[in-house]
């Protein structure tokens, strides 16, 4: 499995790995979160963040702040970091970095298509898109009426095109179809990313396959839970699961037939890594599942930094920052809406 990465990795990857580890040191710590949770107003949050890496991004914002501004500026920092790294990267790291954004691209495509379906203004939708998943002709998505058109008009130029091969139908777009499209795309994307990482080999392959397998399993569980009680057939559901991961293939067979959350739980508890996650939940509850999964994910992502000479640190850093921004959004929302008692509900401490 391990080659001689230590000998040659630093020729191209050393600088960026140093950069990303530096960025990682700038992530908010538990002490920061504790302080943030005690904030009384958004200005307090701004004041606290001004001492962190977000400082330069927030310092020029006039005083009545909004949660959206904070999130927007924090995301801007992430995007700047990403762009800087992408500029410096050489093959195959640059491809690896680009792969990280495809997930956002899929989300953005789905967002625009759903938005136009519900007659929203395109400009307004564009503002909501994640800046990492932007591509040139994204606004044109509004024109498409069905998936074939969507593909032929816009997506054929994007890196998502190969993933579309499975879901080209002439059916009109509706919510259900779009959701299926999202999951099909995501499945294809995860599988492709997985193959790519396997090709890279070495520690990258080992760590990334673990992280991606976790991602795939989480999606499988979410798809199952979300499709309970819908008209999605078992076979269709089975088709949406990614063809790798810890649950593949036997777990998928069992998940495909689940009819309620407790059955899902019974399936998942057979797998030791997921046992602990489900052990935290009481029976019949699915609200806290997301948080439990996030916590597990953060733990795994942090572990990626324990090894050197591999690309998974970039993936881990991007994911951790995104989690941090989600945390900040939650805290700011709680502070802004005076719901401070709920502040700990959804915050996942990173360190």
């Amino acid at each position: 499995m391990y080659g001689f990465e230590a000998m040659t990795f630093n020729i191209h990857g050393g600088y960026l790995e140093a950069i990303v580890r530096g960025h990682r040191a700038g992530l908010l710590t538990t002490a920061d979160y504790n302080n943030l949770c005690q904030c009384e107003s958004l200005d307090d949050i701004k004041m606290h963040l001004s001492a962190t890496e977000y400082g330069p991004y927030l310092q020029n914002e006039p005083s009545p702040l909004h949660t959206t501004t904070i999130v927007e500026k924090c995301t801007l920092k992430l995007v700047d970091d990403y762009k800087h790294m992408l500029c410096q990267a050489t093959e195959p790291l640059s491809t690896f970095l680009e792969y990280i954004t495809y997930g956002h691209m899929i989300d953005n495509v789905v967002l625009i298509v759903t938005g136009t379906l519900h007659e929203r203004d395109v400009q307004e939708l564009l503002e909501k898109c994640h800046p990492l998943g932007m591509f040139d002709s994204i606004a044109t998505l509004a024109v498409a009426q069905n998936m074939r058109e969507l593909y032929r008009l816009v997506l054929v130029d994007t890196p998502l095109a190969p993933y579309f091969s499975e879901c080209i139908t002439s059916e009109d777009l509706d919510d259900m179809n779009i959701e299926i499209m999202r999951n099909t795309l995501y499945k294809a994307y995860l599988e492709d990313f997985y193959r790519f990482c396997e090709k890279l080999g070495g520690a990258t392959a080992e760590i990334m396959s673990d992280l991606l397998a976790f991602e795939a399993d989480r999606r499988a569980v979410n798809i199952t839970i979300n499709s309970i009680g819908t008209e999605l057939t078992r076979d269709d559901r089975r088709k949406l699961y990614s063809n790798f991961g810890l649950l593949y293939p036997y777990g998928h067979e069992e998940l495909a037939v689940c009819e309620d959350i407790d059955q899902v739980r019974a399936v998942m508890e057979k797998y030791p890594p997921y046992q602990s996650i489900f052990a935290k939940l009481s029976y019949g509850e699915s609200q806290m599942l997301d948080k439990a999964f996030y916590e597990e994910e953060v733990k795994r992502l942090c572990l990626a930094f324990e090894q050197q000479f591999h690309y998974a640190v970039f993936f881990a850093y991007m994911r951790l920052r995104e989690q941090e921004i989600r945390n900040l959004m939650w805290i700011s929302e709680c502070v802004a809406q005076n719901q401070k008692s709920r502040v700990h509900d959804s915050v996942v401490f990173i360190f």
Partner: protein
């Protein structure tokens, strides 16, 4: 003031009535002699007392940044007009800044709105022109075609059935009428994907025409300059139209209506041009207002930002004070030098008086076991030398400060390596230039390297003066010897000087009075002579400096009252070093004076190998053998003396103190001896093995160090040799060689190469390397004899230290 020791410090407590707090702190900031301790370290920034004020300052700073940005955009530079008479306080400033900001933003918004319309009209005009061109050319070709067609029909008309054809053409034209079109502008880099998407979306059922606009256009929405293309798209059918409109929106293509009627076109162009000129004047007026507004801000900008920085610093300091229980006064703790006591008290009194406060501030001195900060009172001359020492480590509180000696020894050791009075004068001139323009340079921001040279200008000047001195001793001027002080003492035996290099010269006058006789230069025996001289000199200098270091350790031990260190550290160290290398220095001097032929290597080596042997021809003075034996024995005794007694004595001392502690009176820790380095140890656990190992390491380090450090001083010789050889190479091989060609061009080239090499290699690189070696000799060889350097610097709260580049 004792130069050798840092200022005596005291921990003071200030109790300031809350109404006088702000003023007191700002007066103390003017004074700049108190270092406040953070008494609220456990509180997060927004939980502190003055968090709101700091937030206000931050908000104002943001406004000022906005002004600055706008001023840069408008090309207005903030002029520093010292309008001190209009002293403004924070509240007024806040109001004023808010007003100005609102004014500025409104003005900006208006301008932007106008600019938006203006840009739109400009784009519209461009569309009208380009599309008009296109339409007319199309019409011309269509007319030409039509005419041809007509000609054809008229020719063939009689033969073919004209009715049918006419019908066809009319049917064709009827279809043509239904064609709609959209015109507008699209950014150039998006034009190709735009066309592609249009083609795909309509399955090729559009006709699109683009025309390039030569100059970049201001985009109405973003206000930035963008390269754009004018396009016209022809389509048929409503569904296609809606698709095209959506795509236009998606690509940020601005659409403008256009009519194919020529008359209307002209009218529109006229209208648009009229509107444009109207708008232009309005915009100009707006811009003028904007820039005058900014100019008036610019006059006061510096003053405001200074005030804001000070206020922010004051509130940050206030946040470090703790609230008294009664919430009527603030409690401050901090370090200050003892000499500043009366000044601080005076300042506090003034502050409370100025605030009409009912009660005065209370100033009291606290007792503490904490180690106080180190504060050396420096001036602009001594500060850079102190920096050299601090770069290694800040002195422990009140330990002997090597900075005092560094002022002389540092430039001197540098000069030993850099002895050339020609080079010395060059560097002196450069540093004098910096010193003369000191006032000008200190107020402005310099580049990185320039800043470094400027900061060390006095060090450089001293180094240059000393290297002029050693240059005279070495008799080097760009490696040319000069007989300045007297003619050379030696002369050839006969006028032809044939045998000068074989049998040597004869002495005709008294010895050359100062430095090296110029006649040595260029002879075959120059190098062996100089090497021997410089090598011995380096050892003499090194032994002197190391002895100074050890003597300083004696002063430290005496000052901190530790007799163990005097008797079991200082004395054996002195004995060890001097019985070996002090003796070496002695015999070097004896050899110089007596002119003996003794081999000093031999003497030193056999002093160890076979001390009882007869010295033979290497004997320098009577009784040398017995002296050597005695010295060797004392050196051998010194080693265990250094190693063994100290740990045992410390252990004993600790045990005594530990026993006595539970019974003895609680005495005040007033005297400095008690608060010295050993008292904190007394209360902690005493780990004998640790102390012993520590002492072992110390002893080994000293014993080995005595040899290796002495050898290390030989770098003085090596560097000075390298310097003189390099400069002689440049002189002989470049300048003299160029001279010999008797060709002006070659001479000029030679001179240029010589100057470049002298400046680049000798004046810059050699200076740097000699500097670094001198630095090493001070940090390692000198300071490790006595310097602990684990203190921390006194960092007073002072407005003068608020740096200008400090971001608002």
């Amino acid at each position: 003031m004792d130069l050798l020791r840092s200022e005596p410090m005291q921990l003071v407590q200030l109790i300031i009535p809350i109404e006088a707090a702000h003023r007191s702190i700002s007066y103390l900031g003017d004074l700049g002699l108190v270092q406040f301790k953070d008494l609220n370290a456990d509180k997060s920034p927004f939980q502190r007392t003055y968090a709101t004020q700091i937030k206000r300052c931050g908000e104002m700073a943001r406004t000022l940044r906005l002004f600055k940005e706008q001023m840069i955009k408008a090309g207005v530079s903030p002029s520093m007009q010292n309008t001190r008479n209009s002293v403004i306080d924070l509240d007024h400033l806040e109001v004023k800044l808010k007003e100005l900001e609102a004014d500025l933003l409104e003005n900006k918004a208006n301008n932007e709105k106008l600019q938006h319309t203006y840009n739109e009209l400009v784009e519209y005009k461009l569309v009208l022109e380009k599309v008009g061109e296109f339409f007319s050319s199309a019409q011309n070709s269509a007319v030409a075609q039509q005419r041809e067609h007509d000609v054809q029909t008229t020719v063939k008309g009689s033969i073919d059935s004209p009715l049918l054809l006419e019908q066809e053409t009319t049917a064709f034209s009827a279809k043509q009428v239904k064609l709609g079109f959209i015109s507008g502008l699209v950014p150039r880099e998006k034009s190709i994907p735009f066309e592609r998407i249009l083609f795909r979306a309509t399955r090729g059922n559009v006709f699109m025409k683009q025309a390039v606009i030569d100059k970049p256009v201001l985009d109405p929405i973003s206000g930035e300059k963008v390269d754009k293309n004018v396009f016209v798209v022809f389509y048929s059918g409503e569904r296609v139209k809606s698709k095209i409109l959506k795509i236009c929106d998606a690509f940020g293509a601005n659409r403008y209506p256009f009519s194919d009627d020529l008359g209307k076109q002209f009218q529109m162009i006229r209208e648009v041009s009229g509107k444009l000129s109207e708008l232009k004047t309005t915009i100009d007026v707006g811009l003028l207002h904007w820039s005058t507004l900014l100019q008036s801000i610019g006059h006061q900008y510096e003053q405001w930002s200074l005030l804001l920085r000070r206020e922010k610093a004051v509130y940050h300091t206030l946040n470090m004070l703790s609230f008294n229980v009664t919430r009527k006064c603030l409690l401050a703790e901090g370090w200050c030098p003892v000499f500043a006591t009366s000044q601080i008290q005076k300042v506090l009194q003034r502050a409370t008086r100025d605030c009409n406060s009912q009660v005065g501030a209370i100033f009291q001195i606290l007792q503490t076991k904490e180690s106080p900060p180190t504060y050396f009172y420096t001036n602009k001359f001594t500060s850079s030398f102190q920096e050299i020492v601090d770069a290694y480590g800040v002195a422990k509180y009140q330990e002997a400060n090597p900075g005092v000696y560094t002022i002389i020894t540092f430039p001197f050791l540098f000069a030993v390596m850099f002895g050339d009075w020609g080079h010395g004068i060059c560097i002196l001139l450069a540093s004098l230039y910096l010193i003369i323009r000191e006032k000008k340079y200190s107020s402005q921001k310099l580049g990185d390297i320039m800043q470094m040279a400027f900061g060390g200008r006095y060090v450089i000047a001293m180094m240059a003066i000393f290297s002029i001195y050693t240059g005279f001793i070495y008799n080097e001027f760009f490696s040319v010897p000069f007989a300045i002080f007297a003619p050379s003492a030696y002369a050839c035996r006969d006028p032809s000087c044939r045998d000068a290099s074989t049998t040597g010269l004869i002495k005709v006058r008294n010895t050359y009075p100062f430095g090296l006789d110029p006649v040595w230069h260029g002879t075959r025996s120059e190098l062996p002579f100089l090497n021997s001289l410089k090598m011995k000199m380096s050892i003499l200098l090194g032994v002197c400096q190391m002895n100074l270091g050890i003597i300083l350790s004696y002063f430290n031990a005496k000052y901190f009252g530790s007799s163990i260190d005097v008797w079991h550290q200082f004395v054996p160290q002195m004995i060890f070093l001097n019985s070996l290398f002090g003796y070496l220095s002695l015999i070097i001097i004896v050899k110089w004076f007596t002119g003996s032929q003794a081999d000093l290597y031999h003497v030193m080596i056999y002093m160890f190998l076979s001390p009882t042997d007869d010295l033979g021809e290497n004997q320098l003075f009577v009784g040398q053998k017995f002296l050597q034996l005695g010295l060797l024995l004392s050196a051998l005794v010194a080693v265990p003396w250094m190693l063994l007694p100290k740990p045992f004595l410390l252990k004993k001392q600790h045990e005594e103190r530990h026993q006595g502690q539970s019974y003895s009176l609680v005495h005040s820790t007033d005297d400095p001896i008690e608060s010295g380095p050993h008292s904190p140890h007394g209360h902690e656990g005493f780990e004998f093995s640790e102390v012993f190992v520590h002492q072992l390491i110390h002893t080994i380090e000293f014993v080995l160090g005595a040899v290796s450090n002495t050898a290390s001083y030989l770098r003085l010789w090596a560097l000075s040799l390298a310097h003189s050889e390099l400069s002689s190479v440049f002189y002989d091989k470049v300048l003299l060689m160029a001279w010999e060609f008797n060709n002006t061009v070659i001479l000029i080239v030679g001179v240029i190469v010589f100057i470049c090499a002298t400046v680049g290699v000798l004046l810059l690189m050699e200076t740097l390397s000699a500097f670094l070696h001198a630095l090493r000799l001070h940090w390692v060889e000198f300071q490790n004899k006595f310097y602990v350097g684990d203190g921390y610097k006194f960092a007073p709260f002072s407005f003068a230290l608020l740096s200008d580049e400090d971001e608002l």
